[in-house]
Amino acid sequence: MASMRRFVADDIFTFNNVNLDPLTETYNLKFYFSYLVRWPDYCAMAESPNGTKMGYILGKAEGKDKLWHGHVTAVTVAPEYRHIGLATRMMKLLEEVSEKVYNTYFVDLFVRVSNAVAINMYKKFGYSVYRQIRNYYMGPNEEDAYGKISTKIYYTNMRKALPRDVKKESIIPVGRIVEADELEWS
């Protein structure tokens, strides 16, 4: 029970009940705005009938040639609105935008290896593990959330092929651990 709409600049003032979650980063203004001004259709907010923010998704399109793909940068749901299918709806929207607006080959995302809830969820949405990444650094308070500085943070890179990738080439697993600086984009 949510209304989905574009993420607008003003939402940044009121998304606190979502962002106070430990797995959700609060980035600097430039971060949000550079998404909004480059990929406005990839950023969506779910709102409850009384205007409470329920969750949002931020994404982008990038890569060259057959690596042209949609990317899920953040997907997050406020604790009180979990388990009612919101993430499902938001991921569907992102896939729709990737397919219809940007015509990409696949959608990909990075998720912390330890975030079992999210990994299982993505599997359910049809994403598969493409490769593991070592030393990938996502945001400013990576360490703080766990109260310790960890130098080796592992991420799982998952992908889902879209219709344009007819032969599903984009999702064939790499089969080894990749260092963050080997990534073709970050």
Partner: protein
């Protein structure tokens, strides 16, 4: 050539080694005298070293040579940006562009520079110029520059005061039609401009037709976006039947959970009913029957899905519909209670069930209905053989009960209830052993309710033991749910009430607030911190928080230029509004004023020092003008607090350590330093003007809604002080007889402060209130020291020292000082005693806790297994924070006694 030197300096700057960059620049300048590139680098290094004046001077010097080289332009651009000299940036690129009008890059930079200075007319002209000069360039293929001109017009008609709005919008419309003809409008962003132009002229019907016509379907590829615009425009055109149809289509098209559509349908339905038929007759209204049946039909379809997949919106829609009927007819019936019960039966195991029902629980408007409802509701509670879903339902039921109000007759019953809630919580813990660290335990909300009950009793009785107990309960919960932010924010407020800055700060750090949250959430823990006489912690926090406003100034305008480059026009207005809202935030002024307040205290070792500090204070944040007050924004996010009770006063309001600071506060704490500053600078005209404002402010009768009595009293002291200064300067009477009321009035104010403070001498009473009064007492004494110093030097010159009025004032001053000293001594003795008392409680554990709990001792051991340890820990932390505050105040009092 200077190239190598410039490169080296550039590298140093790039590596953020600005000192080295400066040294290299100076060295290079000896060799390459006045070289503009080196000077440009030097100005950049200087600005990074915060040597603004020198940086500006050099930058201006370089600009005189009208540079066109890329390196120089970029270095100056960065320097001027940091100096916030946006007009100069325009000039810089205007020169470069005019020197070579074939350079598209400079032309672009020139346009971007203009976007920062709100000169929309120039912006439009420049865009058109670009369009002409570079009509065939590759980046203008889709008419980008032409579209920039259209956007400039849209902005001009919105933001520029006294411009011919209608004319400008018409022009924008002509241009967009031309753009469509040339096939420039191909996506959402282009269409957005067109729709905005029509909407700004209130031509909604046309906008709707465009949206649903060929252009609309070409430009909008995402269904939800079209739907949203469709709904918005159908509402604006008041085509209610059409709106119902559109929304029904959306829902039927595989979107049963779209509550917004249901809401619009029902809203439209009742507007139609009100327009057409008698209220009583709604049951025979065809549209009503259709909609009602249709909602039922959608529900049926959902029910076929199996219980775990049923969408909630069609069911909430029915409740919404009934609520509207009740509003219209005034009748609530059994049926209404039943649909709520049905909803809990279906969706009670979803966490959000309670939030879903919140707007509807008030339809139960009689005690009888509420009691019946509760009875049926409580039958749904399952207590044996339960699973996680049952727990979720039980929690929701408890929250609904809490919302509707418990019948609690006395403290004993309250304690029993709290006890029950805690044991319910404990029972849920075994189900959460497998939860991730980052998740919440299933029963956490029981503890929030328990804490709320205790907080209510604190409000009723003013006994701090209830605060302690609420803290213990929430800290207990936090051990299991390390990241439950609801626990943390309530805790921070409770610690603030006790005056404990240490644990408050620790918790605030653990929330990892950053960026925008400095503006929206810092009020959760900073509101009282300037009154605790703990200097370093708040100064650090305020300065850190201020970084968000700097980011806003530096980062956000750049993003707007990005929006032009990417042609995402819909974001430009949005981000401009965001920028203004953050820039005018009252929180920004609050941080600055709180810093000034604390630094004034800090500077007060000698009169000279404080006067020189005050003289240096920038007027920007203490001169609170009418214009600012009319546009200042409040972005603080009060809604993050749980507000689960059917009461006007929210939980957030109940647990403030002081009244929320707002426009009255910033006026007072602008005027106090401003008047003192002008007294130090002997600027009588300004003192007069501001003291008039202060007098007017102090006579307002709603002061206590934002200000503490101690703060108001201090305002009055400064008011008297300023009067004294003004009179001494010009009143004939004063000059003849040395008459001045200030001494008497100030003495009375101070005495009242001392009396009210020293009547509190028990450990149990020491909370934020007492510490705050001690701190403001020091401030009051500081103002008095300044007054006495001023009075001592009242004689205009050496010769006049023996004039009768001067002597007269000196005599009165001496008497005044004697009396004041006695009061300060009383205050000092009181402080000392209090501090000794608090220090003597160090590590006394349960003894002190017992003292605080007094007759409520039962609460100490009874509620939770580790209650006692948590209480002792809370007390120890409090003890160390409070004694730091008091010791600082003691030290300062000693210094002030010597200064008098």
């Amino acid at each position: 050539m200077s190239d190598r030197a410039v490169n080296n300096i550039y590298d140093a700057i790039y590596n953020e080694n600005y000192r080295l960059a400066l040294t290299l620049s100076n060295k290079a300048l000896k060799k390459f005298h006045n070289d503009p590139a080196i000077n440009a680098m030097k100005s950049l290094a200087l600005v990074k070293l915060e040597k603004y004046e020198e940086a500006e001077e050099i930058a201006k010097f370089v600009m005189e040579s009208k540079p066109v080289e890329e390196t120089i332009l970029q270095a100056l651009n960065l320097t001027l940006k940091d100096l916030q000299k946006y007009d100069e940036i325009v000039e810089l690129f205007q020169n470069a562009f005019e020197a070579d009008i074939t350079n598209e890059e400079y032309a672009n930079q020139y346009f971007m520079a203009i976007t920062r200075i709100n000169n929309y007319d120039l912006q439009k002209q420049t865009a058109l110029k670009l369009n002409k000069l570079f009509s065939n360039s590759s980046s203008n293929k889709k008419g980008k520059y032409f579209c920039w001109a259209i956007m400039s017009l849209i902005l001009q008609s919105r933001y520029q005061k006294d411009c011919p709005k209608a004319l400008i919008t018409k022009l924008a419309e002509q241009m967009i039609l031309k753009a469509i003809e040339k096939d420039f409008i191909i996506d959402y962003e282009g269409l957005f401009m067109y729709l905005t132009i029509l909407i700004d002229q209130e031509r909604y019907k046309e906008a709707l037709d465009i949206l649903n016509g060929d252009l609309g379907s070409k430009c909008i590829k995402i269904e939800t976006e079209r739907n949203r615009l469709n709904i918005e425009l159908n509402r604006k055109t008041k085509q209610w039947e059409q709106l119902i149809k559109v929304c029904q289509d959306i829902i039927e098209n595989n979107d049963h959970d779209n509550f917004t559509c249901f809401y619009n349908i029902i809203d439209a339905l009742f507007i139609l009913i009100e327009e057409n038929v008698l209220a009583i007759d709604y049951l025979n209204n065809e549209t009503f029957i259709n909609v009602y049946d249709w909602i039922k039909k959608i529900q049926e379809e959902e029910l076929k899905n199996g219980i775990s997949k049923i969408k909630r919106a069609p069911f909430i829609a029915e409740i919404e519909l009934e609520k509207k009927i009740i509003n219209m007819t005034g009748f609530t019936m059994d049926k209404h209670k039943n649909i709520l019960i049905e909803y809990v039966k279906k969706f009670g195991d979803k966490y959000c069930c309670f939030e879903d029902l919140l707007p509807y629980l008030e339809i139960l408007d009689s005690d009888e209905l509420i009691n019946d409802f509760k009875a049926e509701l409580n039958k749904l509670i399952k207590s044996t053989d339960i699973n996680v879903n049952d727990i979720q339902r039980n929690v929701n039921i408890e929250k609904i009960n809490f919302y509707l109000g418990y019948k609690i007759n006395n403290e004993e019953e309250m304690k029993q209830y709290v006890k029950k809630l805690i044991s319910l919580y404990e029972e849920t813990l075994p189900f959460g052993t497998k939860l991730e660290d980052t998740e919440r335990q299933f029963g956490d909300d029981y503890l929030v309710i328990a804490a709320s009950l205790l907080i209510d009793y604190y409000k009723l009785t003013d006994k701090t033991c209830y605060i302690y107990q609420a803290i213990a309960i929430l800290e207990h919960g936090l051990e299991k749910s390390k990241f439950n932010f609801q626990f943390k924010i309530i805790l921070m407020r409770l610690y603030s009430i006790l005056g404990d800055a240490f644990r408050t700060t620790e918790l605030s750090r653990s929330l990892n607030l950053r960026s925008i949250q400095f503006d929206t959430l810092s009020f959760l823990y900073t509101e009282g911190m300037d009154s605790l006489n703990i200097v370093q912690i708040p100064l650090h926090i305020y300065n850190l928080c201020l970084s968000i406003y700097k980011s806003n100034n530096i980062e956000v305008p750049d993003v707007i230029t990005q929006a032009y480059k990417n042609e995402t026009y819909s974001k430009i207005i949005e981000i401009l509004d965001f920028y203004n809202k953050l820039n005018n935030s009252i929180q920004q002024v609050l941080f600055h004023q709180q810093i000034i307040r604390i630094q004034t205290l800090q500077a007060f070792n000698t009169v000279d020092k404080v006067n020189s500090y005050l003289s240096s204070v920038d007027d920007k944040y203490i001169d609170i003008t009418e214009e600012y007050l009319s546009k200042c924004t409040d972005n603080r996010d009060y809604k993050v607090f749980a507000h689960w009770k059917n009461e006007k006063t929210t939980l957030e309001e109940k647990i403030r350590c002081r009244p929320l600071k707002n426009t009255l506060w910033i006026q007072l704490f602008g005027l106090i330093p401003k008047i003192l500053k002008n007294i130090a600078l002997k600027n009588i005209e300004k003192i007069k003007a501001d003291n008039e404002k202060l007098t007017a402010l102090l006579s307002k009768d709603n002061l206590i809604s934002e200000l503490l009595p101690s703060e108001i009293a201090n305002g009055k002291i400064v008011n008297e002080f300023a009067k004294f200064v003004i009179e001494a300067d010009q009143s004939k009477e004063t000059k003849e007889s040395g008459s001045c009321d200030a001494f008497n009035n100030i003495f009375e104010i101070l005495k009242e402060k001392v009396d009210s403070l020293t009547s509190n001498n028990k450990l149990t009473n020491v909370t934020f209130n007492i510490i705050e009064q001690c701190t403001t007492m020091i401030e009051a004494i500081n103002y008095i020291v300044l007054l006495v110093h001023y009075a001592s030097n009242i004689a205009p010159n050496r010769k006049s020292r023996n004039l009768p009025w001067v002597i007269n004032i000196q005599e009165k001053k001496s008497q005044f000082v004697n009396e004041i000293k006695k009061q300060i001594q009383i205050f000092y003795d009181y402080l000392k005693e209090l501090n000794t008392l608090i220090n003597s409680k160090k590590n006394t554990g349960i003894e002190s806790i017992k003292e605080i709990f007094g007759s409520d001792e039962a609460l100490i051991d009874n509620l939770m297994s580790n209650n006692k340890e948590l209480l002792i820990k809370t007390f120890d932390q409090w003890q160390s924070s409070v004694s730091t505050s008091l010791e600082n105040t003691l030290k300062e009092t000693e210094i002030k006694m010597k200064l008098l």
